[in-house]
């Protein structure tokens, strides 16, 4: 669906040139949700700008469904939410959504109904929509931003820090909208520093640092990367748990917080570890697994 081949992009001129992207190549399959992670200044927003056709790569090529990213046939299928919420602050919430509904090519007879439905999906209803955007909180702006991006159920969704600055309920609302778009078969590119959220919605993450794509990690689908599991057991049974898991073929380690940590290939693998502990008569207080993106982030890419 999205093809990025050896893309390089430099900012500035003469002696003050900064290479924002350096030979980035990646493919995003139709219906896939790709997470872009990396430190500040890594080149993620530049990559997203190139994918949207706002910036033109100096070298390399980007195509979406075989077309340039700024082709109107692609734009018709695209939803986009920027990191910086530069909305028309003098517009009311409903006028803003109505404007984007029409710009997206929506039927003007449907505007009122579709605007109300999109706003309701992000928890903005009633008088809130009649208020000017200048009076919205950061969280409300994020929500209405997500609502505009998901108008007309786009096939392509580009989201830049969609849950930044929102409260936990807002984060859940944004996540639900992303999962809803995903269920409709949308291809999503998500740039976010909220690693737990990235892990919850993305099929794959790419780590970008210094303008280069340093690593890719599959979270879901075919051959996902091993997850890091944490099993909490009573402190006095930890040694017994370590022995039992090692005997079952796992490579457990004692966590600094008193838990037992191990690498699992899948959720079934984690269930097997819990079963091993149960058979060894070790009570399991909590068991969870994650892709451990934070660790990947600290190391500057997967180990």
């Amino acid at each position: 669906m999205i093809s990025v081949r050896s893309v390089s992009k430099t900012y500035g001129c003469l002696g003050r040139r900064t290479r924002a992207l350096d030979g980035v190549s990646l493919e995003v399959r139709r219906g896939e949700t790709l997470g872009l992670i990396g430190p500040n200044g890594a080149g993620k927003t530049t990559l997203l700008s190139c994918l949207l056709g706002f910036l033109r790569p100096e070298r390399g090529a980007i195509s979406i469904a075989g077309l340039p990213p700024d082709d109107l046939a692609i734009r018709v299928k695209t939803g986009y939410m920027p990191e910086r919420l530069g909305f028309d602050r003098d517009l009311t919430g409903s006028a803003f959504l109505a404007q984007h509904w029409r710009l997206a090519g929506g039927d003007s007879r449907e505007t009122v109904r579709q605007v109300a439905a999109a706003a309701a999906r992000v928890g903005l209803e009633g008088d809130v929509l009649l208020r000017r955007l200048s009076g919205y909180s950061r969280g409300m702006l994020q929500r209405i931003g997500v609502a505009q991006a998901t108008l007309r159920d786009p096939e392509l969704l580009f989201l830049d820090e969609p849950a930044s600055g929102t409260d936990p309920i807002g984060v859940a609302v944004v996540r639900d909208r992303i999962l809803e778009a995903k269920a409709h078969g949308a291809t999503i590119v998500l740039n976010s520093h909220q690693l737990p959220e990235v892990e919850k919605v993305c099929d794959r993450v790419v780590f970008i640092d210094g303008g280069r794509l340093t690593q890719t990690q599959t979270l879901r689908g075919e051959s996902p990367a091993p997850h890091r599991a944490t099993v909490r057991v009573p402190p006095d049974r930890r040694e017994q748990a370590l022995t039992a898991l090692a005997a079952a073929g796992f490579t457990p380690e004692a966590g600094s917080d008193g838990s037992v940590r191990l690498s699992v290939a899948s959720e079934q693998d984690l269930a097997r570890a819990v079963k091993v502990l149960a058979l060894a008569d070790v009570p399991v207080l909590e068991a969870r697994s994650s892709a451990d993106l934070e660790e990947m982030f600290r190391r500057g890419g997967p180990a």
């Binding site: 990396g38 200044g41 530049t46 706002f54 910036l55 734009r75 003098d90 404007q99 505009q148």
Partner: protein, 241 residues
């Protein structure tokens, strides 16, 4: 493009400060038109067009609103010419308001201050004044739009002033250096880039298809075409990585 015109109208009239500023300016112009020559009174139109057109593209780009619009299925030229049409529609509404206020003043002044205090109001003069202001605004707005496609904030107004000064300086330079060719070339440049058309005469039916009118058409076309070329090729970054 229609959506862009609609958006521009909402932006300009949605801002209370802008509406008040235009209202005050319209009232001052109307009072002046009612008391003196309506054709001359409309000369304040350039102040209104600065208020309406300044930073029309650059502000959208710096706010990030432009990127959200360009992510939609809309051609960049549709956005750009939508802005231009929007400027002209807002200015036309402003001129209409002046016309209405002038008529009110013309009726109200004799009642308040006694007969003979208001100027003789001619509908034709009022119409010519409005049309002159509108035609001048077409070139002024095209120039500001052109500068706004590549300059930041309100630097488009500053660039227009600099352009006026530079175009005015060259003929004087030619005169001072006693280089007739430089003076002629500079005057030709000035009359082609920012032509001064006597619309009062043209609107009376004199020299309608004359050289000045042709230069004015060419200049408007040139600024709009250059704006379209620059804007279509421009890159827009946003935020930080």
């Amino acid at each position: 493009m229609i959506e862009m015109v609609r958006r521009f109208l909402r932006q300009r009239f949605g801002s209370l400060a802008m509406a008040i500023a235009l209202g005050v300016l319209a009232l001052l112009t109307a009072v002046q038109a009612a008391f003196s020559d309506p054709e001359r009174a409309y000369g304040t139109g350039f102040l209104a067009i600065i208020l309406i057109a300044a930073g029309s593209v650059s502000k959208d780009a710096s706010d990030g609103a432009l990127q959200m619009i360009l992510a939609r299925p809309i051609r960049r030229t549709s956005y750009l010419f939508g802005r231009y049409l929007g400027i002209l529609v807002v200015f036309a509404i402003y001129l209409g308001a002046i016309g209405g206020l002038t008529l009110l003043c013309a009726k109200g002044v004799p009642v308040l201050f006694g007969p003979g205090t208001a100027a003789e109001l001619s509908a034709a003069a009022l119409g010519r004044g409005a049309a002159t202001a509108f035609l001048n605004a077409m070139l002024f707005a095209a120039t500001l739009l052109f500068f706004s496609t590549f300059l930041r904030g309100y630097a488009d107004v500053l660039a227009y002033i600099v352009l006026q000064i530079v175009l005015g300086l060259f003929p004087m330079l030619g005169e001072a250096l006693q280089k007739p060719w430089l003076r002629k070339a500079a005057e030709a440049l000035r009359s082609n880039v920012l032509p001064n058309v006597d619309w009062s005469e043209v609107l009376r039916g004199h020299n309608v298809l004359g050289e000045p009118t042709g230069r004015w058409v060419l200049a408007v076309t040139l600024f709009l075409s250059l704006a379209a070329v620059i804007f279509s090729r421009r890159e827009f970054s946003y935020g930080h990585d």
